[in-house]
Every structure is written in C-alpha cells, then in structure tokens.
C-alpha cells in the first residue's frame, strides 16, 4: 500500500493532450485557423462579388473628380475637386463640429455639475432635472428636435431674430459679425506670441524663486496683465488693425459676416447639451470624491478659501474627473457622425454617403471612414493613458 502511494507521488509527465502548454498552443492554432479561414472566405466572396458587379477596387478613386458640392467647406473646394479633397473637407467639418461642441459642453457640464451641488435647493434641483431629462432621451431625437422643431420653423431672413443689429438668426442659419484682419494685424499677433512666451518664462522664474527663497510672486495677475496688455499696446501702436464685417440683408438673404448653417447650429446645440448632462455627473462625482477632511486640513493649515480650492480640492478632483471626461469627448466626436441624419456635411454623410453612392466602392470607403474614427479614438486613449500614468498617485 505504502509503496503504491510512493509510486503515485513520483513526478510523472502528463500525456501530451493533458499538458496545459501543448493544449494552449493547440487551441490558439485552432482559433487562429478558424479566424483566418473565415477571413479568407469573406475576402474571396467579396472579390468575386465585386468582379461580378463590376465594382472597381483600390484607392485610385481618391484622385478622380468628385463632382458634387459641399455646403460647408473651410478649405477651398469646388465640384471639380477630387474625392480626396472632398474627404479632407468632410474630415475638417467633423473635427470642427467636435471641437466647438467639446468647448461648449465642457463649460456647460462644469457649470451644471457645480450647480447640482449648490447649497441653493432650487438651483440644485433644476440642475438635476436638466441632467435626468437630457441623458435619458436619445441623442438623435434631440438633434431632430433642434433641427426640425426649432431651427426649421425660424422666420425668413426678412423677419429674423435680431440681437444688437449684429447677430441674426433665421431659417438660413445664424449670422454673426466676422473679424477682418487688416495689414497691421501681424504686429498684434506677434505681440500675442511674445506675451505667451514671456508668461511661460515668468512662471518658471517665479517657481524657481519660490523654491529657493520661499517668496511668492503674483503669477496669475502678472500673466493676465502681460497677456492682455502687450497685444493691446501693439494694437494701439498699429492703429487698431481689426474691423468687423457685419451681415447685411440684401435681397432674400444676409450677405457678409459669418454664416453658420442651421445643420451646424442644431448639431452643436444637441451634441453639447446632451454630453453636458453626462459631464455634469462626472464633475459632481469628482468633487464629491475629495473628502471633506482635505478641505478641513487645508483651512487648519491656514490656507485661504481660494488657495484651498486651487491647490487642494481641484487637483484631486481633476484626477477623478479627467479620465471619464476624455471618454465623453470621444463619445461626442463619435456622436458627431449623427450629422448624417440632418444632412450636415460631415465625414459619414459626404464620404460614406455621397462618395460611396457615386463610386460604389463600399469596402474602401467604409474602411477609410472607420480607420479615421479608430485613429481618433486610439490617439485620444493613448493620450489619456499617458496622462493617467503621469497623474497617478505616487504612493510613498
């Protein structure tokens, strides 16, 4: 009996099909083979189908003439331009609506998030109603609402809503004055750059001096003065080389000024108000995550209320806020693709819509479109990871 046990305990090599290492290799080869086979099957079918339907392949179409117009183009674009140019125009439109949406939604989200925590009962409840209302209604419905129910029933240009005779809102869009840079403006621009560089050096010097001598320097006020003052002086010397071009009613529409098409206004409004409801909750959670003890300790050390906020509470709250905030920015950018539903000329509408219909090259066009969004996502998440490792608590 004892000898038997001894024999059982002797190390034995398991059979090859029971060895976890060989099993792992076997399963992986199996899965890889299945994936490759499925891929080959799909590629093969696609090639056959494309040949049968006479669809061209390859990316040659990018240099061909597009032949359609795009309502909103920040860079020069005409119907004779190529598909590649149209792609660039559409990409810029997507980035434009995302960038402006992100700025507005950040401001709105922070204000509402702070309001949600206000001591004022009425303000806190209003913020809560805003959040619960907006984030539980589909974004597409909100875009439709702004576009079809609000902006489409605006008056004609002759009866536009008017603010200070400078900003006009009508069914053709939102018209605002446009800055016109006159020749001397480069001096102001140079002054701005100089001021910015000066502020950076000043802050560095102030930090160094504080570390060496302990004396503080009014950094904020000084940089404010430099940033405003220097360009102002330059502008005065150059004789204020900036004028505004006002929109003027001519015939059936306004001419001049800056025109924002209604699709753009609706999209920015819907995207930023919707995303703000999520950001508000993130901001609230971030502020609540900083424990009361932190601010109590700061006031026990004699820090003023402003210093407590700036040096103790906000840096800790931001550590909690920033990662989910970036993913909301990413969501906003991805959601800007809903532009296709109200015909704002973004990447999806122009490229995956019009260009696809005209060329029929579904595979290439969808692949490019997806690759663009994927690149944006991966870049933003890489930046976020970098930020996270930099900001992570260093435990001592």
């Amino acid at each position: 009996m004892a000898a038997d046990v001894q024999d059982d305990l002797a190390p034995t090599r398991p059979a090859i099909w029971n060895d976890p290492r060989y099993r792992a290799v076997f399963y992986q080869v199996l899965v890889l083979a299945a994936v490759l086979l499925a891929g080959a099957y799909i590629v093969n079918n696609t090639l056959e189908n494309m040949e049968r339907r006479g669809i061209a392949s390859g990316f040659g179409f990018l240099t061909k003439t597009a032949g359609f117009s795009i309502d909103l183009h920040l860079i020069e674009y005409k119907e004779e331009n190529s598909y590649g140019r149209a792609f660039l125009v559409a990409l810029i439109n997507t980035l434009l609506v995302s960038a402006i949406g992100i700025v507005i939604t950040t401001v709105l989200g922070f204000v509402i998030g702070v309001a949600r925590l206000s001591n004022n009962w009425l303000i806190a409840k209003l913020a809560a109603v805003y959040i619960e209302l907006l984030r539980n209604i589909p974004l597409l419905l909100q875009i439709f609402f702004w576009y079809f129910a609000v902006l489409r029933i605006l008056p004609s240009p002759r009866e536009s809503h008017n603010a200070f005779d400078a900003i006009f809102l009508n069914i053709r869009g939102l018209f605002t004055p446009k800055p016109v840079f006159e020749p001397g403006f480069s001096a102001v621009f140079i002054a701005m750059v100089v001021a910015l560089v000066g502020v950076i050096f000043m802050v560095r010097w102030a930090h160094k001096r504080q570390e060496e001598t302990g004396q503080q320097f009014p950094k904020f006020r000084t940089s404010f003065a430099i940033l405003i003052g220097l360009p102002l002086v330059a502008a005065m010397l150059a004789g204020f080389p900036l004028s505004w071009e006002y929109p003027v009613l001519k015939g059936f529409n306004y001419q001049g000024g800056l025109r924002m098409i209604p699709e753009f206004v609706a999209l920015v409004l819907a995207l930023s108000t919707y995303t703000a409801s999520f950001i508000a909750e993130i901001v609230r959670a971030g502020i609540l995550a900083v424990s009361q003890g932190q601010s109590e300790a700061a006031s026990a050390l004699g820090l003023s209320r402003g210093h407590t906020l700036r040096l103790v509470v906000i840096p800790q709250a931001l550590r909690v806020i920033i990662p989910p905030l970036t993913s909301q920015y990413l969501n906003l950018t991805k959601n800007s693709s809903l532009a296709a539903a109200i015909a704002y000329p973004d990447l999806v509408l122009v490229f995956a819509g019009t260009a696809l219909m005209q060329t029929g090259q579904a595979v290439e066009i969808i692949a490019i479109t997806m690759a663009v969004y994927l690149t944006i996502s991966l870049v933003i998440s890489a930046l976020m990871n970098w930020y996270n490792t930099r900001m992570a608590l260093v435990e001592r």
Partner: protein, 369 residues
C-alpha cells in the same frame, strides 16, 4: 429648592425645543434659498425663469391641447395636437404590421411581462429558471410569433415591422446576444494565451473605437458583398448583426471590470481544488463577477436602447423613424413637435426607470466587505 421651576440637578434639564429660526419652513427657506445675497439672486432669477417657462409649457401640453377628434381640423394650433398622436398611434407602436396579426405582438408583450413579474418578487424560488426561460425560451417563442410562417401563423415580412415594437426587438435581441458574446470576449481578453488575447483585444477595440453609424453603414453595404452569391440577408438581420457586434464589445468591457474585481484567491482556491477552467469560470468566478456588474449591464442596455434609434439612418422605421415618417404625411404637416415630445416621453420613461432600477440594484447588491 426655593425656585423649583428654574433649578435642575445636573443632567436633569428637560430638552428645550430648537430655536425658532432653526426649524420650520422659514428656516428651511432661509438655509436653502436665501442664505446669502448671491443665493437670493440665484433663487429669484431661477424662480422667474420657471415662472416664464412652466405655465406656457403646461398650457401647451395640457390645457390648450386637443385630445379628441379624427382629423387635423379639430386642432386649434394653440396647444399641442394629441389627436395627431392618437390618429397615428398604431403606426407609432407597430409600424405597418398587419392589423389582424397585432395580437401576436401583444401576446408576446403580455408573456414577457408575466414572465418577468416573478423576478421582482423577493424570495421567489424559481428565479433562475425564469431567467433561463427569458434568455433561451422566450426569444424562440417570440421569433415564431413575430415572423410566423409556421404553426398556422401567416408570415409577416420584416419591412412591415416598425415603431416601438421594432425598437424593442432590436434592443432585446442586442442585449440577449451581446451578453454571452461579451462574456466570451472578456474571458478571452484576460486569457493567458497571447493569440486569443490579441484577437479579443483587436475585436473589442475595433468596435468600441468607431461610431455605431459606421457599423450600421458597413452592415448595410458590405455584408451583401461578404456573402456568396444567392445568400441574401434581410435588412433587419443586417442591422441586428451590427448592433450585436457593437454592443458585445461594450458588454465585454463591462464584464471585464467584474472579472478584475474578483480577488485572486477565488481563482487560486478553485485551481487548488482541481476544478477545470470552464467549471471554475461558470461556477465560481462568473456568478460573482456578473453580480458585481449588473448595474453596468443595465447601463449598457440603456445606451443600446437609445442607440437603436440610429437604425432609421439605414432605412428601418423604428419608433423615431416612424415619428419622422408620419411627420412628413401631407395631411398632417406641422405636428412634428408633438411627435418628438411623445417619442421623447416614452424613451424617457423607459430609460429613467431602468436607471433608477440599476441604482436600486447597486444599493441592494452592495453587500460590502
């Protein structure tokens, strides 16, 4: 002892009522609304804004609204025209599903509600079996009821499906299919086999990195190219595949969060007992992990439910798509707002109650350590 009314032994003094400026409605008003000048200004301006907006809103929604009638002529245009919603109610709910067959959809709804009720009764014994039925049995029954073509039911083609019914079908199919796929992907992502891990990470990050619209576009224009000649997918099936691909990637990340929260000791304990990988996952790790992430799953479902509206872009008439469609009817021009308000209210009720339920679950399941 001379002045008994004012002299007490230490600790014998009866409790006094709180000062009058610390309790009652006035104190509450002072503390919450008027504690400083800034606060008072905010309160007054907010109250003024509410005064400006709420009465006209209610006036439009209820008091001036038209509730009964058959044609647009009864609508005075002073308030909301709910006649419009009542007139198109069937289309908004069921799309163009044949009238004679509507009982099939309704009975599927009733069956779903009846089966789901026991899940909310605390202490009900066969909850697991109900869950299994809802996940495996119910979809099969619902499929035969909706599609028909057998058991004496006439076949109803999917282009006739629409309205809230289609929205619910897409959302429920999305959740039922994405949960198992998401679990597999999450396990793959945490696997020690490099090739499997790489494949799962690639799959998850690909679908999470692109907007749902591009996935739907891909499904509608590229899937037909992927299939051999003669095989043709229904448009609805293509949308369902797209939604499943998309939401399973999100589900995988939710489940991964749960898997990461399970302490290492649970895995090691199972391995020490000689339990195989799949048994360890199915019997020990996943039950704990899934319980942890139920709120996350509900949140994913809310997101999916709202995102189903995007199918209208590829030409399916879901709830919102139907509202858009009837809004363009020449006999009923100019009532889009009513349509949006109605659709928005229904979505809001669904999503808000689900998010409240998920918060409730979060509290209930937070058993704490």
């Amino acid at each position: 002892m001379t002045d008994a009314a004012h002299t007490y032994q230490p600790g014998q003094h009866p409790d006094l009522p709180p000062p009058s400026n610390a309790v009652g409605i006035l104190a509450w008003l002072y503390k919450n609304l008027l504690s400083s000048w800034l606060n008072a200004t905010l309160t007054i301006s907010a109250a003024y804004l509410l005064f400006l907006s709420i009465p006209p809103l209610f006036q439009w929604l209820f008091f001036d609204a038209d509730w009964v009638g058959e044609t647009r002529e009864v609508c005075s245009r002073e308030g909301a025209c709910w006649v419009y919603i009542i007139f198109w109610f069937k289309q908004l709910m069921y799309g163009r599903y044949p009238d004679a067959e509507l009982w099939r959809i309704n009975s599927a709804y009733v069956l779903l509600v009846l089966a789901a009720i026991p899940l909310f009764i605390p202490g009900f014994r066969w909850k697991q079996w109900i869950g299994v039925f809802l996940f495996f049995g119910y979809p099969i029954i619902a499929f035969y009821l909706f599609v028909g073509g057998s058991f004496g039911l006439t076949h109803v083609e999917s282009p006739l499906w629409g309205g809230l019914f289609l929205t619910l079908v897409i959302a429920l199919v999305g959740i039922v299919t994405s949960l198992p796929i998401g679990i597999i992907l999450a396990l793959g992502r945490r696997s020690s086999m490099p090739i499997i891990r790489a494949l799962c990470i690639g799959f998850i990050e690909l679908w999470r990195g692109v907007p749902l619209i591009t996935v739907l576009f891909m499904a509608s224009v590229m899937f037909p190219l992927f299939m051999p000649e003669g095989v043709n997918f229904d448009k609805l099936v293509r949308a369902l595949i797209a939604v499943t691909l998309f939401s399973s990637a999100y589900m995988a990340e939710v489940v991964r969060g749960g898997l990461q929260a399970i302490p290492k000791g649970q895995y090691e304990g199972a391995q020490a007992l000689g339990i195989s990988y799949w048994k360890m996952m199915a019997l020990i790790v996943l039950p704990q992990a899934l319980k942890l992430v139920i709120p996350g799953i509900v949140n994913t479902f809310i997101g999916l439910f709202k995102d189903t509206t995007l199918v209208l872009i590829i030409g399916l008439f879901d709830f919102l798509g139907m509202a858009q469609l009837v809004g363009t009817n020449p006999d009923w021009v100019g009532f889009r707002i009513e349509g949006y308000v109605f659709v928005g209210a229904v979505f809001w009720i669904f999503c808000f109650s689900m998010s409240r339920y998920s918060q409730h679950l979060e509290k209930k399941l937070h058993t704490g350590h």
